[in-house]
Symmetry: C2
Subunit: 393 residues, 2 copies
């Protein structure tokens, strides 16, 4: 196990009707003037935004609003938010929504007290200061409610880049699973895929002797395998929604990933897909992550066999563990297909002829990407090609 | 799943040589004058205390010392610590040691800014304010490095009682697994038993639909089952020590226990044993927890069968799940025996004739204790009796 620091100070306020307490928690964490940041119509139509405003008003908290966050949130709205916060002397950013609204809120929070261009933080500069962020979560997926990460897309050039800092971890996150009961099946499945990918990106590691985090990763995956088909079949199942929501936070606040080399190449390779086609991140991951597995499993057969046995319930083939490793990948794809996810470029609406551009956008030139296994430009090309025409189905 | 709040803000500073950074973290969390609180000779003899002092000095932090914390820490030393802190204007309590030093430090932290008797907090009063606490952990066991709990023994009457508040959660905990490599096998096994008990107390619940926390509990238990025999056989095995140490924190910071009714009756029943005989808490748990299981498993056979199958690797008996449930308890006892733990009153040095007094000390009168199943005075008597002469061995 490698040395690590771990600090997840977010207060999670979990359960039915908890959004009614939002104002209390803004006040508790020092907010007096809030930017209420959200996406499109669903938070308005469902009445959630109204309830949150009421809670702020009851707590005597002033607010200004900035809606319109898109999936794959854009830098343009971040600039708008930063300007608005400065003009209105906002001291607390409250995101109401999913990963996109939260990631956009984090970018604004980092940008307000910074003299330069906030995009610097998405190009490698370290965040030194940020306004406090709180969230009211409406979809279990990105894990952004408990993480210090944010991903923003630069409109010019369709570049999707991430920033990370413990300063971006929300002060509190209100998590009412009932708010996710009205999500369409496709978005639910995209969220579940994203959660599972967050775990697999940590699970596939070169670090040995990490039984505790292996087992914790497997715990989250086993939960998702049980609960996801239940909510696809019965969207209003509160209990299954609750299990998925807490799994989504545990998957990405890094408690299951400490002390080990992580991968994140499937995320990186997928980001170029959702940046170019504006497809859902989870759907892109359903196409890319098994393709990554199909390309690299021979470089670490026993770890893939472990996942197959412990996560997918495969029998171990002691004579030929590669058989088991492959069976695990097949079962992952069947699971994804079963919850309605695409498995190929065609199903996603991506085009094989764009592969050279996708590889170009990853921006590694003739370099490599580290992780469970080092990927060259050729490896990445091959992974996209497998996603066009996968074999382990 | 029940509604819950969860906030574990402690910064965990984990890995080799990390105690050298202690001064940095005291400063980061606002300490200027520290009470250095520790137990007996081992922290001094090993040179750890010296390294911690050096780190404080390098960071320009002043300190006063109070050693002498005993296992099952006493109220008397807490009073001494409170007086010393007031006299010396201490603003930060740094525990160097295991659960006893940390629990004692937490009691002092709560007592210093309180006008009344600190024992009020161990008799049900709520903590409103506390000095910040940091820890340098030397044994994986109590989980106190990441919890908001503290257990203190009142010398008069040998009463062992707990207090809990998020205000008692350490600001930081330095966790170097190498510091535990010199622990004797018996103490190591006691610590491992305590960790497993912290998980089982959460696992046995009446709350349904808690797959995520079930699986996380099982993850910690499976890790302990793998790693504990390794460190008993090879005490200096850093990697196994590291897995156990992180498992010990995850077991008790409550991330595996949120949203569900918990039990804690084995802890309560054991506390009277260690209060009366001053035996190690973990050893007492090895005697009491399986006895509790033997007494109550018929009240929730399927949950015990789940533990047997998922944690102990038993085959499910679909015709008679009670067979599987019993097999799980047998395997737990065999595991404990294998790591050198006592299983009976006799092996622990406890006496059957003291049972009436032990039951009396629990202090429920003719009332009951809630949990996985409600326990009456008669139930508790029966559990102690089973611990005298267990059947499922």
């Amino acid at each position: 196990m490698n040395n690590f620091n771990f600090c997840s100070p977010t207060e999670f306020v979990f359960g039915k009707d908890r959004e009614q307490d939002t104002g209390f928690y803004v006040k508790k964490y020092g907010g007096t003037k809030v930017l209420l940041h959200y996406g499109g119509g669903s938070a308005v139509r469902s009445g959630l935004l109204g309830r949150v405003k009421q809670s702020l008003e009851q707590a005597g908290i002033a607010y200004v609003e900035l809606g319109g966050v898109q999936p794959n949130p854009r830098d343009t709205l971040v600039y708008e938010g930063i300007a608005l916060c400065r003009q209105e002397n906002v001291d607390f950013i409250l995101a109401v929504g999913g990963g996109s609204a939260i990631d956009s809120a984090k970018a604004i929070a980092a940008g307000v007290p910074y003299d330069g261009d906030f995009w610097d933080f998405y190009s490698g500069s370290q965040i030194e200061k940020a306004l406090p962020v709180g969230t009211v979560l409406t979809i279990a997926a990105a894990g952004s409610e408990g993480s210090g990460n944010s991903v923003i897309t630069k409109t010019e050039g369709a570049l999707k880049r991430g920033a990370g800092s413990d300063l971006l971890r929300p002060r509190f996150s209100v998590m009412n699973p009932a708010l996710t009961c009205t999500l369409p099946a496709y978005q639910t499945a995209c969220g579940a895929t994203d959660i599972m990918a967050h775990v697999f990106e940590r699970y596939f590691t070169t670090t040995t002797e990490v039984e505790i985090t292996d087992r914790l990763c497997e715990a989250v995956l086993l939960t998702m395998i049980k609960e996801t088909p239940r909510v696809i079949a019965d969207p209003a199942n509160y209990e299954a929604r609750a299990n998925i929501m807490w799994a989504g936070t545990v998957a990405h606040n890094n408690i299951v990933g400490v002390g080990r080399v992580q991968d994140w190449n499937s995320h990186g390779i997928e980001h170029e897909l959702s940046a170019l086609y504006d497809c859902a991140h989870g759907a892109g991951l359903a196409v890319i992550m098994p393709a990554w597995m199909e390309h690299v499993y021979q470089r670490g057969v026993m770890r893939f066999a472990q996942a197959a046995v412990r996560v997918w319930g495969c029998e171990m083939d002691f004579e030929d563990p590669a058989v088991t490793a492959r069976e695990g990948i097949v079962r992952f794809r069947r699971f994804l297909h079963g919850i309605g996810m695409p498995l190929t470029f065609a199903e996603l609406g991506a085009k094989a002829e764009d592969i050279p551009q996708l590889v170009e956008n990853i921006g590694i030139g003739n370099g490599t990407r580290a992780g469970f296994t080092t990927l060259t430009r050729e490896d990445i090309t091959r992974i996209y090609e497998i996603a066009v025409d996968p074999k382990l189905l």
